[in-house]
Symmetry: C2
Subunit: 139 residues, 2 copies
Amino acid sequence: MDNRRMLEELPRQEALRLLASVTMGRVVFTQRTLPAIPPVPHILDEGDVIIRTSLTTPIVGTTEQSDPVVAYEADEIDADTRTGWSVVVTGVAQPVRDPLDRARYEALLDCGADDPADCVLRIRPEIATGLRVTPYPEN
Amino acid sequence: MDNRRMLEELPRQEALRLLASVTMGRVVFTQRTLPAIPPVPHILDEGDVIIRTSLTTPIVGTTEQSDPVVAYEADEIDADTRTGWSVVVTGVAQPVRDPLDRARYEALLDCGADDPADCVLRIRPEIATGLRVTPYPEN
């Protein structure tokens, strides 16, 4: 069996399209000098990635903190064939403060967990990259 | 429907046990000042996490580079119920140079892709943390 695979870098629009096709990813940030990579739900709204972080301590805790740059990753990789795609978006994360927007996002991003740290964040994708891994073409 | 969920922090041994129960995760490091989070295959061997990074440019490229600290994440989250677990291991990543070890790991960590950047790395889990998300108990 030929296990070789081909790698293809994806353009921004294709990376964002794939990200919009799934409902969960992982937000990467630093928490007390250690890397935190919690899985969270997301949606895309007008080109921004909206996430809800009730499953973690907050990324953006108080208005005194400056808006941090975070990375957001999602992938769909078949564990057997190891083919699929992965996408990383990097950008500033800002809390969604508008009450109407926030209520709409909360309804879409069910988090359930009874956690006072609940926070809806908007990530503006300054950079969006992706990689697709496909089977090597047969001769 | 009660969508609430409970969060439980996992002890180190349970985090490593869950990590060993799956075959892929994501290694987090910095590449040209940007976060890289590629999915890669892993195994656990005598408490270390062994990964193979043929799908990316190398984390540890040359012997001149000092051994970087990386984070490694794996999870199993049900997209519908949003219950499951996630684990993060943090530690120094070092290339596996012993030819016998390397051959053994390469056989176990099928990467397939025809990529000259192929590299087998050992991560010593200085820190291993995990989170389990379970349904809220019914009254």
